[in-house]
């Protein structure tokens, strides 16, 4: 007998993530107009909650209907004009992408190539800024998912930027909500994020938080885009609206998800990411998987590993997908066949984590990779 059923995908991707049931359900609320009081209320709610997530009381928060890359482009062109110099350390696809956005707009991207699997050391940043004159800002991808590099020393880099009196713009797309980011306390000028990562919401909406200092600069810029000109968004912010029709359903969901996170508590939500990361690192290292990134810069939200020789990255990925409907990612670009990447973002319930661990163990056994399942049972996998 053939049982034909829809297999629900279990996502351990570097985004998108499986949204929790209550978040997903909100998507299909009845449609409302985006110039109505009902919308204003939802919008205001979201902005107020996001302030708590970005840890800022003074910044403006803008909601865009775009992927994270759209918001990164918007942040860049609102902060910097063509021919201005911006320091951009490169340690993965997303820092490379930010640099190519700058070049598209004639901004002088001063690239600082970091050896693969490492992040930007604070001292290096400091030296570079002092070396070149007239640097207007520095762009940091807080967590570059392509190798899985987490810039743990961001507060130090922010200090450098503040001392040198230059703007610091952060791509926090794959990490906001998954690790600490004290925007006000650390003195970050601009932070970009998106719904579909640690905020456990479907994709479609991105956000840009802008400090007062950064806004003073932006206000005077002549931005060569209408859709990405934050001054347009600012005009409508006072009315709790967006200038253009937003992805309304994603906002329904985002509100619910932010409520979840604040109910649990932002610190607890972040702690859940850390705990799961620890469990996953331990588990895969037991199976002779090697973390690809140096410990100092290792990400908790995207874990990258090279695999034991018995099991190639692509084989492991395919076995998980074909047999268990579990989705992980390979490396990007030249790293494609060299590493696996496991997303650990948003709300991952015990059953999903258990499935990944048990399914992996089954595959390991078939490929002759030794793993002590008894030892795993000693790990505490209660995540809350």
């Amino acid at each position: 007998m053939m049982i034909c059923m829809y297999k629900e995908p279990i996502l351990f991707l570097p985004g998108p993530v499986n949204p929790p049931y209550n978040v997903n359900k909100m998507l299909s609320l009845p449609m409302i107009g985006h110039r109505t009081e009902e919308f204003h209320e939802i919008f205001a709610d979201i902005i107020n909650m996001l302030r708590k997530i970005f840890m800022t009381s003074k910044s403006e928060i803008f909601l865009l209907t775009s992927s994270g890359t759209g918001a990164v482009e918007s942040a860049i062109i609102n902060c910097f004009s063509s021919r201005e110099k911006v320091l951009i350390p490169i340690y993965g696809e997303f820092s490379r992408r930010a640099s190519s956005i700058m070049k598209k707009h004639g901004i002088k991207a001063i690239e600082l190539n970091i050896p693969i699997g490492r992040g930007p050391e604070t001292e290096l940043i400091k030296r570079e800024i002092r070396k070149k004159r007239d640097i207007k800002g520095i762009f940091i991808v807080y967590n570059d998912t392509s190798p899985g590099v987490f810039v743990r020393n961001l507060p130090e880099i922010a200090d450098v930027a503040r001392n040198e009196n230059i703007l610091i713009v952060i791509d926090a797309v794959s990490i906001l909500g998954g690790s600490k980011l004290f925007m006000d306390k650390w003195g970050i000028d601009v932070v970009v994020a998106a719904t579909q990562k640690c905020l456990a919401t479907p994709p479609g909406i991105s956000m840009i938080a802008v400090s007062k200092d950064a806004w003073d600069i932006m206000e005077k810029k002549n931005v060569k885009s209408l859709y990405f000109d934050l001054k347009e968004y600012k005009k409508f912010l006072l009315k709790n609206e967006t200038p253009f029709t937003p992805a309304i359903n994603i906002l329904f969901s985002l509100r619910e998800s932010l409520r979840n996170i604040l109910d649990i508590g932002l610190n607890n939500w972040i702690r859940m990411h850390k705990l799961r990361a620890r469990i996953l690192y331990t588990f895969f290292e037991m199976a002779s998987f090697k973390p690809f990134v140096k410990k100092k810069f290792r990400s908790d939200t995207v874990l990258s590993f090279s695999t034991p020789k018995e099991l190639s990255p692509i084989k492991f990925k395919e076995e998980l997908r074909n047999r268990f409907s579990i989705y992980i990612a390979l490396g990007m670009g030249e790293l494609k066949s060299k590493i696996i990447r496991i997303g650990n973002m948003g709300y991952i319930p015990f059953n999903n984590l258990a499935s990944l661990i048990l399914a992996s163990s089954i595959i390991f056994k078939r490929y002759g990779i030794k793993i002590d399942i008894d030892e795993i049972l000693d790990k505490d996998m209660v995540l809350k």
Copy 2:
């Protein structure tokens, strides 16, 4: 006794619209990755169906995560470079917006101001193109929702453009699926549309269809944006993917909605718009509402009226909203207090149409506006 219930909004807005039940339900399908085979299948399905809606066999269709304005900006900057001249007849907020996008990018927008409540006459366009030398293209908002102007003579204007060998770029955001648009047959180069209007889907995804001729031009352009550079989208099109994370849930819905439309038949779907428009024009004219737009340019998807003196536009809008949870719009900008606008887009079931008619009749009676309800009952309101 107080019954507290969520009042489901009935939308007669110029977008967004109420998506049909089966379309709305699809929003909360389990999340999938956008680099997976499951996604490729959905993406390919959508593109194939959209070809039938755009009436084109030869064009490429790009899906963007943005509002319609985002896609309009993308179309403009992929077609035209700074300092190039583009003719843009202005007859409402959306043609004005396209012009301001051009100016932002240094494109020379040659504005052609049309008297309010009218559209661009073909002869005028022809004269203007011949007068100015070196015009690279013409931008037409096929249906400008702000006054409710429908450019019924688009095929003639397209003929002019073809004869003069210049690009013709169409904003069809508020009309694709609601009226005929034979992209290939009429020789239209670029058509922009969005999900949340006549395609009866929630907002979040916009589309750009590009003819082969237009692509030959685009391919050589140096576009000053990454997010809106269609060459990036083209690279991923072959894999049935988008370059950046799309609003995946909206795509789930869009597929379902396009299936609905093609099941019903595109011609029938368009005919439903026309029939409803005829019923609504007749009904409101019976109540002494005056269509704001000259008959020749009157839209079937956004109907605009000035109201009888007993009942101001804002009063009528508020009564419908507060008492019946029915949403219509006022005019935009200077027309705000002067007209009402009634959206007639997508799937509007009999119960919604009946509610608008009966609720309006009740309001008319209270304000002393004469209407013969018996006569209305003679109208055939079976829409399929």
